[in-house]
Symmetry: C2
Subunit: 366 residues, 2 copies
């Protein structure tokens, strides 16, 4: 293992025009990582789309020994076994970890896109993933997989490129965004936009940007990613001090406040604010029914052999009735559809932390 981690990140350029749902880009770059080997039949590839904030670094490898965002799930002898599968994880178009997004330089102008970046949709991210498969010489995936935003993107991929995947694994995702989650994300975006340091998208890059707005948005994110039950068990009414300080009665007092502050601090500076706004909005805009007159007509497009839909009972951001709806909808057109209802306590984020439940469930598909 190297003393200084190197990077396993690779990039490729989509040559020429890349037509988006609402606009277009010229020669965007897509960043990705691969683990394992593509077999001779080229039928063991797994394409992973990520949630809003991760990079393509899904798991450690010889090339980059740093832990990835799904370290427990992907690797040799792990549920997604890189001894058997060729795993490709893509940094979403519109993100800021190597793929072209609002924080990237626009080739035509030599200046950063910022709000000139076209309105982003999850379909665009899915299409960029398909172009990556072209680049890698993969005609048809063993499965496309994603959680949260990545699960919606994986569904978009299966609808828009039906012949390019035999399988779909959708985790804590949905066929469309509902008003409750739209309201929460809209408020997160407003927190950022109302920060005077956002400067209508023109904050200095590099630099802290609208750090206050990002901190608030991240805290709201953390609140919605977990569950009330988990926090009651974990924090209860534990205090950081015995009494609220008399002269600063609104500072950090309860352990839960200290926990949120620590997570928010870690997020600041690691994610570009405009990229966050674009990706967040793309989730709101997603509705599988756009690809047919109804969800049923849209799902009729897929040509899957197998699908697994996983939901968590304590997830209130993507409530389990949404995964049930997706699984039921797929059953009309896919022979082998499994629906896993997990009683993890950690809400929407369970796929990142409740390995006791998620490992065997994912392993059963692979």
């Amino acid at each position: 293992m190297a003393d200084v981690p190197s990077s396993a990140r690779r990039t490729f350029v989509i040559d020429g025009r890349f037509v988006m749902r609402r606009g277009e880009l010229h020669s965007p770059t897509i960043a990705y990582e691969v683990l394992g080997e593509l077999n001779a039949a080229a039928d063991n590839a797994v394409l992973v789309f990520t949630g809003l904030s991760p990079s393509a670094h899904v798991a450690s490898s010889a090339a980059d020994p740093a832990s990835g965002w799904w370290e427990d799930m992907v690797g040799p002898d792990k549920p997604i076994d890189t001894n058997r599968y060729f795993v490709v994880c893509v940094n979403s178009l519109g993100s800021c970890f190597g793929s072209t997004g609002p924080a990237s330089m626009e080739p035509a102008t030599g200046s950063i896109y910022r709000l000139r970046f076209p309105v982003l949709s999850l379909e665009d991210i899915a299409n960029a993933g398909a172009r990556l498969l072209d680049h890698l010489g993969i005609e048809r995936l063993y499965t496309v997989l994603g959680a949260s935003m990545g699960g919606m993107t994986a569904l978009a991929f299966a609808m828009l490129h039906p012949h390019r995947t035999a399988g779909l694994v959708s985790i804590s995702a949905a066929a469309r965004s509902l008003p409750f989650s739209i309201a929460l994300r809209s408020l997160q975006r407003e927190m950022i936009r109302r920060d005077p340091e956002w400067k209508n998208g023109d904050y200095h890059i590099p630099g802290p940007g609208p750090a206050t707005g990002m901190r608030l948005a991240r805290k709201l994110g953390m609140i919605t990613y977990r569950s009330a039950e988990e926090w009651e068990t974990r924090f209860g009414r534990e205090r950081t001090t015995d009494e609220p300080p008399a002269h600063h009665p609104f500072g950090i007092d309860f352990e839960i406040e200290s926990y949120l502050e620590a997570h928010a601090r870690k997020f600041i500076g690691s994610f570009d604010a405009n990229c966050y706004l674009y990706l967040s909005r793309a989730m709101d805009l997603f509705d599988a029914s756009d690809h047919g007159g109804s969800l049923k007509q849209a799902l009729e497009r897929v040509r899957l052999q197998r699908a697994m839909v996983i939901g968590v009972e304590t997830d209130f951001l993507f409530p389990i009735h949404q995964q049930e709806e997706l699984a039921q909808g797929l059953k009309a057109f896919v022979k082998d559809v499994r629906f896993a209802r997990l009683d993890s306590m950690q809400g929407h984020d369970s796929f990142l932390v409740d390995m006791d439940r998620f490992r065997p469930t994912i392993a059963s598909f692979f």
Copy 2:
């Protein structure tokens, strides 16, 4: 009915020192309204504590024909029938609708309290209510009642002044705040405190103050006061425009966003930001167990003849297991405890809007 509404608001001054849980005030004013008549036996009085934001104007009367915040519930021939009951609604100590709070003048200095106001607790609000009963010559209430913060305050009153009420009605409240609701309120406070216009509490009064922070806090409040189910039915994915405007992709697009914006606008200017901070924090600090080594020991203090605890299944801010816990706890010490589990769709705010379910439930107690 007068062309120009007059006011039914009355005030009285608690003479001298008013000792609070953490500090004291000198001669605070308490604002209140009354409806109906106190009978000769003085045993038909109902004391209503409010949620965080309402004034004492619970319902219209000849003196003030404007609609009150619980107009459908209180009045002649209504569930809380003012032909039979003498209803007293108190503006919480620490609020800004006539009672002394952080936006009031401090008599000793002639300047506005702001953050020099002592840390507020719901017990202080309950104690101010008891002083109001002294003033009105009411020894013992027919019942004390409240919803949300008011329900917690009503419980505090029943524990701290056990001989002064025969009944308790606690609606969508709890015996203590749990970390999920603490996290949400903490974030609302941070939205206000991070607004540069808050100026560490020294914004100009009167004036807009930290309007942006208050707008964001109100929107988060609205999100947590209702339910995902209601919004799915009510708004679905309805758009205000067909497509997101290409050059301002983060503005209002979905109906749910427009709804939140309209509610937030109404709130701005109607509530003092520092008062909001103090009241919000008081909810976090509340834990009935503080009045005994455990909730059981605390509830042993009450001397109630009857209690009704009402909870709503879609309330995720004060989840129904908290009302169940309170009802169960009271049963050990109160002969007649009724627990009503309502399947209203409107979440925490159901008591304000779902009159079809709340009217008969409340009427059954009165």
